[in-house]
Symmetry: C4
Subunit: 277 residues, 4 copies
Amino acid sequence: MRAKLKNFIERSWFQNIILALVIVNSLSLGIQTFSLPADIARVMSVLDTACLAVFVVEIVLKLIAYGWRFFTDGWNIFDFLVVGVALIPNMGVFAALRIIRVLRVLRSLRALRLVSRLEKLRIIVQAILDSLPSIAWTGFLLAIIFYIFAVVGTMMFGKEFPDWFGNLWKSLYTLFQVMTMESWSMGIARPVIAAFGWAWAYFVPFILISAFVVMNVVVGVVVNTIGEVTEKSRAEVQLRKQGAPQLHEELEKLQEQLKTVQLLLDQQAKAAEKKVE
Amino acid sequence: MRAKLKNFIERSWFQNIILALVIVNSLSLGIQTFSLPADIARVMSVLDTACLAVFVVEIVLKLIAYGWRFFTDGWNIFDFLVVGVALIPNMGVFAALRIIRVLRVLRSLRALRLVSRLEKLRIIVQAILDSLPSIAWTGFLLAIIFYIFAVVGTMMFGKEFPDWFGNLWKSLYTLFQVMTMESWSMGIARPVIAAFGWAWAYFVPFILISAFVVMNVVVGVVVNTIGEVTEKSRAEVQLRKQGAPQLHEELEKLQEQLKTVQLLLDQQAKAAEKKVE
Amino acid sequence: MRAKLKNFIERSWFQNIILALVIVNSLSLGIQTFSLPADIARVMSVLDTACLAVFVVEIVLKLIAYGWRFFTDGWNIFDFLVVGVALIPNMGVFAALRIIRVLRVLRSLRALRLVSRLEKLRIIVQAILDSLPSIAWTGFLLAIIFYIFAVVGTMMFGKEFPDWFGNLWKSLYTLFQVMTMESWSMGIARPVIAAFGWAWAYFVPFILISAFVVMNVVVGVVVNTIGEVTEKSRAEVQLRKQGAPQLHEELEKLQEQLKTVQLLLDQQAKAAEKKVE
Amino acid sequence: MRAKLKNFIERSWFQNIILALVIVNSLSLGIQTFSLPADIARVMSVLDTACLAVFVVEIVLKLIAYGWRFFTDGWNIFDFLVVGVALIPNMGVFAALRIIRVLRVLRSLRALRLVSRLEKLRIIVQAILDSLPSIAWTGFLLAIIFYIFAVVGTMMFGKEFPDWFGNLWKSLYTLFQVMTMESWSMGIARPVIAAFGWAWAYFVPFILISAFVVMNVVVGVVVNTIGEVTEKSRAEVQLRKQGAPQLHEELEKLQEQLKTVQLLLDQQAKAAEKKVE
């Protein structure tokens, strides 16, 4: 029973239908952002619900087929959450609440199922996620730098510039803006320097330090990726060598010839012994 | 007949005349953007038409010489389209239409013929085009991210900020601007956050994600290019090795010496056998 | 006595308590930026002083345990300065002075002790500091370029644009802003060009030159890091080779076989000599 | 006579005095940008003229010592031009002309002599200049793209936005600004799109294309630099190999042993022949 279901789910035509529905649903989400005539809007809404229904059925089937092993694959959990979140606003429970707009928005996450459906995209996302741990500690260092500058900024400029440095969160956001170098000088630093003459010693070092740390992240990713790629190509070279090893062949021939030499010498030695006898 | 024409077209002085005309025509296009005295403007216009006539003749000659094989080379198709498009506004058919300004502009594309004429530029463009497929999937991932954020942005901020998030296209354009980090905070995000307090959770992750994906594209191109270059240099090393292979020589000498050894041993063995007999 | 103290300081539970206090103190610094009810503020202040007291005791213990060798480790000096600076505003001596706000701010540097406490962060910071010397000369070149452009800018635009080019420091700051490409054109260059038509020949080359030099710094860091990493991996390959050397094994086998051959031949030769005798 | 002069010029204490004067002169140029009291200004002016006099004498001495070979070294030509240009405004000929301010500014170029004086800086500048040819063709491609977009921009937006696209030069400058992504959207593209709805199809492709070409330049420089560095390190490995070649030693030992084998076999063969005789 379970094996049959598994077989059915893993068939390529079933997979393709789901993929097609994901694409259709993604497009319908985009179309719904335009102000549509009432009847088309209704069609879209029905299409939406239909797609969702199929996705729910698909996940239930998978849950039955794989049991709890379903949750051992990260992409399955991802699908489960995306569809589950999309389910909430349709349940009508939250209809009275103002939260509904936010929840409806989460439906758009369903378009992310394209990523979990297409092998190539999964590989890229996997590669990006795999590169995160190597960045984690540099990210933590950046977080500490942000934190210290935010504390200092809030204490120094908080009263005079409440919009930018009013509290720790505002300072952190402003520093993020400064790090992306967006309007950091004309928008933020020049007014602050006009009030606090020494403030350039706050902004310029922050930009230099954060740019340097970000550069280190980029360099780290470049070097890591090159390392992985050369590791792979080295392994391939190794394989090719084992497949058609010119040098090894030569050496093997040599060894065989030497064995022949030894055999002949042994024969000679025995013959000589016989003679002596 | 065809062979003669081919010969004529491929002569270097013919090629150089065409190249000179492309340069002259490109310059005349630039000069025409200034407001010129009537007689100079007329000269420029005549020059323009003359160049175009030569280009048309050149392509017709090529079409006769190469027949349908003309279209097997991408650069030929490129030349054909660029000259063809430039031909349209001179045909007078569209003169009455307002479209004429746009069509006249397309004449400037003729300056692109410089690229198809100069070997070095063709190689660079080819290299850039060759690197596109390796980027395609990451680009598609970026497109999905853009799409989801645009749908969410339109649904959430559309009513309050119609200029930036009024519909899907406007949201996509705004997100492109945010990705390039141009006025993303002072221009877009701060006003939006003033209306929707949680909107930082829309902009900051979008910037981080898109920056990360773009970084991945750059890293991919760097690693690919390094891979290709080292592949080439490895192939060259291989060639040099096959040209003057110290180790291989040594091994060959060894093998020859061993053959001599074997020969002598065989002779000895035979001599010994004879003696035994 | 000293050895005992050393032992005590280097115990992991002591280290972990200090680390925990550093984290607690860092968080309390952040919390104090918000306007707190009086009693919580007092608790925070006490917590702050308590942490500082522990840090002072820790450093005094270390000073006793290690003596003057304490100052041979850069991270110790760093800790000493950070705690020392934090001590100043609590001494009450400067209470009457306006400088107190600046000094209180320096307390936030205590959060930097997280870096000196966590091995991983120390390695990253060390790596960044190690890469600085290789950048030093390029940085000096950039400084000369900045200086010349600042002198020229001050002399040419100083009178007309006192806010941006009023003196050497203002020009240097403006050029830093231009280098980060923040509002360089709409904010600075376009107004200047409106007054001095040739000013584009000041800004555009400056951007190109500074971008090129910065690119060189980045390329230098990338290449250096790759160099170090490949150096390491090459050393590892060398080690692995020495551990399990396929080729060397083959050659050793060959050599052993040849020794056997030689031995047999020697025996034969001796036997032959005997016969001749 | 000439040899003595050469000897004198190349002495390190003479070189160091010139270097010191270059630094002093550079600093005095910076100090002169501030509004100084009359007497200090006069001292600075005298210092300036004195330094210039020494530089002129130095170059005249070099010209005498090296003759026309002086101009075979690029750095000498550089020094000659920088000092020569600085000489012009002091000649009083142009005093009546308004050009004097511009010419006085060129004096600041004398600070560039620091680059030609310090070996390390010369190497970096040389490296940057050496990397330019590899970029030249990509730069030419970028120039063509700029040219075409500038022609199109001038023709399409010239009338409506004369400040940004009024003529070819203005368009080129605006496109340079757009390429650096400074205020490209909020400042330039959004107003243009408000007038010409399709203008996004002008700006977005331009940004993508120019970003891609610039990325290619960066990638090219990275790959070239890595190539050069690995070439160097490969040459070093080659040298080390020739110094202590484990494998080669083994093979040589083998060959020697085989020669011994052959010698012994030859002896055996001769002994056998004697016997047969």
